[in-house]
């Protein structure tokens, strides 16, 4: 297998071309890394070669490291995986350092060959790190191509020299946003960040020209010259000191202390800034190994990269023919309908947006207009794109416009009678083979399907709000839903570039059934006199983006009260949330409905900006003298969700734990560092979790009773990803 090819052209420039076999995107394998070294050696030894240009034969330069490599090294290294990972990383440093030194004399820095990287398309991870080791980087001017170091988003950090090289190049202050936010940047932005040196419509030609004109001095890195000083100051330089004090504080507060990779990255930069470059690379390798040994990084890679991609590529798609959506009908132009229209039109799908009167339909369409206007003002969209998006949306009251739609998404008022009426009316108009989906978040799909004459073509497609921001779409199979409806939904989600999970039809499906105990546990604690700040902070300290009280203010108390009444009626004696409802109903009586009424658990100013907690809470529910331990508060919030996920698996709502994990993170922001509820349970171990359930149930009630499945797994000391690997084909 050869992934790199060497050709020396007539001008004496060796072009090393990356063209990974049988892949559409270059990802670096272990073997290929060895080949890079071999080709560099060859080119450096060849007297006919004046310089080297590294580029790619694909549309893009590189996607990064093959992430399975890291897992396999860990697995192969037997008793001492840290040694295996460290050795592997150090070998990478050795190869890139050889490339960087390019055969020059150690003392005089003379006699090396210039090496430039022609970044012909998108370039990420190790691709960018190879480029950074080169002496010059030219990138294509195509604004759709992006370059960056996104490792941090997967719970690791650039460990192929990228952290040390880039911080040594531009200084800690300038490197921080690129390394810590992991943003992929268009060529212009990358140029101003210092990540690349030039932008050109023909990067290979420009790189060649640079190589042919480069002098000995041009190819010596600043840190290989005498008297190197880190730009902006090393940590114990007065200016550098302030930078590093601030950096620690900001990394700590931005990550709520739960992302080990960000801390490790910063330590590598800090420690690396105080020693010679080769020692700095060794330090980077030590911290990189440390992060790879942390179970959080493998869990994040598994859920947020490997399994997310698998789901997007249709891992659970029934084997039926292509169901790409051509024209979609959206019923109801409220917030959800407007958002669904927007994301569909942006994906190039024709949209018919229906509402009862033309004004409402137009308002729904204008949502797309103002979204695109915002994009234009932020230079993220063009007026042409706006025109195109708007031209695809037909806002109308006329149901006959739906006659040639192949997918309908109903997003009308959450009332079964209203929905049933719409289903009947619309099914009479749309093609016989069209799929009809409901965007309901609370009503059982099988019940709604009773209004349909074609229940096998009836399905739930549950979007999260705001539609254009939330990456997850929950697809719900009713009792009679057929494969083609599932395939159509999955193909549609792929078209709008979101991530799907497919679940079965039970109360609140998957996501909402897990969020409800989170919110309810939080509200229940308010009733017990727990400091509201402790409740929300406890959640944030677990890595949840929004605490339960803030969340309920956003979703509104009256919605909570409505759900509570319905659930109560349905569950009868099994209902466990009486103590929660007392608070919820009281808040509703007080007219404190949340942000929309500018009054909820929080106070809000005139403009709706959140202020402090409402003082009235403490009058009604006096602050307990003995506040609970943080860990108890956290576990009440966390186990509420996790156990609900286990029950969803137990009851068959979830068919694949990968969907449970990916869905939890993307759907409601479940602690991403954990990799999702099932990954978290595997991390802490079923025996510990079951024991903790018993303690929590004894102290805080039925909600925390250990599900039978978890109990059984605890007894057998099983992990979810091993036990469910065969049916889930989980990585």
């Amino acid at each position: 297998m050869a992934d790199f090819f060497l050709n020396v052209d007539a001008d004496g420039v060796a072009i090393i071309t990356w063209d990974a076999e049988n892949k559409s995107m270059n990802v670096l394998t272990r073997e290929a890394f060895g080949l890079v070294e071999q080709l560099i050696d060859e080119a450096l030894a060849d007297d006919a070669v004046k310089g080297i240009v590294i580029t790619s034969a694909k549309r893009d330069f590189a996607g990064g490291m093959d992430l399975n490599v890291l897992a396999s090294i860990r697995d192969e290294s037997g008793e001492n995986p840290a040694q295996g990972l460290f050795d592997f990383t150090m070998n990478g440093h050795r190869i890139l350092r050889k490339l960087e030194r390019a055969g020059m004399d150690a003392k005089t820095n003379k006699g090396g060959k210039p090496i430039a990287c022609a970044i012909n398309g998108t370039c990420a991870g190790i691709g960018t790190e190879i480029a950074l080791a080169c002496h010059h980087r030219v990138m294509t001017d195509n604004p759709k191509s992006k370059v960056g170091l996104p490792e941090i988003l997967l719970g690791i950090f650039p460990g192929g020299g990228g952290t040390i090289r880039f911080s040594h190049m531009v200084g800690a202050m300038a490197a921080a946003p690129v390394l810590l936010q992991g943003q992929m940047m268009a060529p212009k932005k990358a140029l101003s960040s210092g990540l690349i040196d030039a932008v050109n419509s023909d990067p290979v030609a420009a790189a060649k020209e640079w190589v042919l004109n480069a002098t000995d001095a041009d190819i010596v890195k600043p840190w290989d010259k005498k008297g190197y000083k880190m730009p902006g100051g090393a940590p114990y330089h007065p200016a550098g000191f302030m930078t590093f004090v601030g950096a620690s504080a900001m990394v700590h507060s931005n990550t709520w202390g739960v992302y080990p990779a960000a801390k490790a990255l910063l330590s590598a930069v800090y420690e690396g800034a105080q020693v010679p470059f080769d020692t700095a690379l060794k330090i980077e390798a030590r911290w990189f190994t440390h992060v790879l040994m942390n179970p959080s990084s493998s869990a994040m890679i598994r859920s947020l990269f490997i399994n997310k991609q698998a789901l997007e590529k249709g891992a659970n798609r029934p084997k039926v023919a292509d169901e790409t959506v051509k024209k979609i009908g959206v019923l109801g132009a409220g917030m959800m309908g407007a958002g669904i229209s927007l994301v569909s039109a942006r994906a190039g799908i024709e949209v018919v947006l229906i509402d009862q009167n033309q004004d409402a339909a137009d308002r729904g369409k204008s949502y797309s207009e103002s979204f695109m206007d915002k994009g234009i003002s932020r230079k993220k969209a063009t007026p042409e794109q706006k025109e195109h998006v708007l031209s695809l949306i037909e806002a109308t009251t006329d149901l006959t416009s739906l006659a040639d739609c192949d997918l309908i998404i109903e997003a009308v008022f959450e009332d079964p009678a209203v929905k049933a009426e719409m289903t009947k009316k619309v099914e009479a108009i749309i093609p016989k083979d069209a799929i009809f989906a409901s965007n309901t978040s609370t009503l059982p799909i099988s019940d709604l399907a009773k209004a349909s004459v074609r229940p096998e073509q009836f399905i739930g497609i549950h979007f999260f709000s705001p539609v254009e921001k939330m990456a997850l779409v929950e697809i719900i199979k009713g009792a009679k839903t057929g494969d083609r409806a599932v395939a159509k939904s999955l193909d549609y989600v792929r078209q709008i570039r979101k991530t799907p999970i497919v679940v079965n039809d039970e109360r609140f499906f998957y996501a909402n059934r897990c969020i409800i105990p989170y919110i309810n546990s939080g509200i229940q604690m308010v009733g017990e006199g727990v400091a509201p700040a402790l409740i929300d902070h406890a959640a944030q300290l677990l890595g949840f983006p929004v605490g339960p009280l803030q969340l309920v203010d956003e979703t509104s108390i009256d919605l909570g009260a409505k759900i509570a009444r319905a659930t109560r009626a349905a569950m009868g004696d099994d209902y466990i949330d009486g103590a929660v409802d007392e608070v919820v109903f009281w808040m509703e009586e007080q007219g404190r409905l949340g942000r929309k009424s500018k009054a909820g658990f929080y106070d809000y100013d005139e403009k709706g900006k959140r202020q402090g907690y409402w003082a009235g809470l403490e009058d009604k529910y006096p602050r307990a003298d003995d506040q609970p331990d943080l860990i108890d508060v956290q576990h009440r919030l966390l186990f509420g969700q996790v156990l609900e996920a286990v029950r969803a698996l137990e009851e068959g709502v979830l068919e694949d734990i990968r969907e449970g994990d990916v869905g939890a993170i993307l759907g409601w922001g479940f602690a991403p560092w954990s990799g999702g509820p099932f990954s978290w349970l595997d991390m802490v171990g079923a025996p510990w979790a079951a024991e903790r359930c018993d303690e929590l149930a004894a102290k805080f009630g039925k909600r925390f009773e250990c599900p039978a499945l978890l109990r059984e797994m605890a007894d057998k000391n099983q992990s979810f990803y091993k036990r469910f690997a065969s049916d889930a084909k989980a990585a």
Binding site: P235, Y236, F241, F244, V245, G246, A247, S248, A249, M250, V251, H252, S253, W256, G257, K263, L266, S267, Y270, E271, A531, P532, A533, L534, H537, A538, L541, G612, Y613, Q627, L630
Partner: protein, 403 residues
Amino acid sequence: MNEAYIYDAVRSVRGKGRKDGSLHEVTAPRLSAVILNALKSRNNLEGHAVEDVIWGNVTQVAEQGACLARTAVLASDLDESIPGVSINRFCASGLEAVNMAANQIRGGAGDAYIAGGVECMSRVPMGMDGGAIAVDPAIAIDNYFVPQGISADIIATEYGFTRDQADALAVESQRRAKAAWDDHRFDRSVITIEDINGLSILNHDEFMRPQTDMQSLGALKPSFKDMGEVMPGFDKIALMKYPHLERINHIHHAGNSSGIVDGAAAILIGNKEYGERMGLKPRARIRSTAKIGTDPTIMLTGPVPVTKKILAESGMSISDIDLFEVNEAFAAVVMRFMQAFDADPDKVNVNGGSIAMGHPLGATGAMILGTLLDELERTDKETGLATLCIGSGMGAATIIERV
């Protein structure tokens, strides 16, 4: 066990710790030497008169570097046979020097010591010595590092102290310091700083602002609000550590926090035989000493646990103490001490403190112990306790008894 006695205590006047401060022209070795010389001449410390000079000093770089204690001995009239050791327990360095000296004597290692300290904050600014605690991510993050001012505001938030209460304490510190100076209560210990020709450079604590009132303090902006709420946002670190708090109440400012000043202080400590041999009369017995580590984020609550510890170890209760010196690093530190022990404000810092007169880091501990002793004598009381809060979460305390 030997007993350790205080035979004499001196301190310099305090100069504003800025470029326009009167002592800015005086080097740290010289300021140290002037104080050491004063102690020498008052007590006839000829030859190898003491075992060691234990010298508290926080920012041990530049002219305060390279064992300033020994440099100070060489710069002074003390005999070269007397060594010197610089120590750093941040703001309690001066008191820790005394405690170490006392415990050496009690343990039998030498008859007598000079203990004290110096800080020329105008010349060697705070923080110039770097320090990993604030800047090394692996340490700063794991320990929820925040700067001291944020810690002081956390104390105020956690224990419910208002801006008005803090300002009132500051006004009272200024009033008491002025009254003490007017009443010549510091005369016995204060050393005027003179130049090489014997000309006076400074003869009073120049940081004091006796005209301070609630209104003038009310006009001051909180000092730590921006670094707390905006860049780099230390409040969030505080809320992560103390999640039951909703927000940090920023009450401290330049007027209710200790002043940045230049100053030095020295105390002569010896056993009983030493006094007899030298013809010196012991003024007080160092009854007990203590130090403790505490939560590094709220950082400055150390005086409470260290006082509990020293009382327990001495078999005493809070009511056995006649007078307290609690370093006024920040108003909330003293308020927390008084709250925890229900201490009578009329017994705490009766002659003002660091808010009015300033806090020369390495010297303050020795200064307040001397002030405490002078006041016990003046009011003919028996027992006093001095304590300081300390950076990175520590506390130190000393109990003295008149003999």
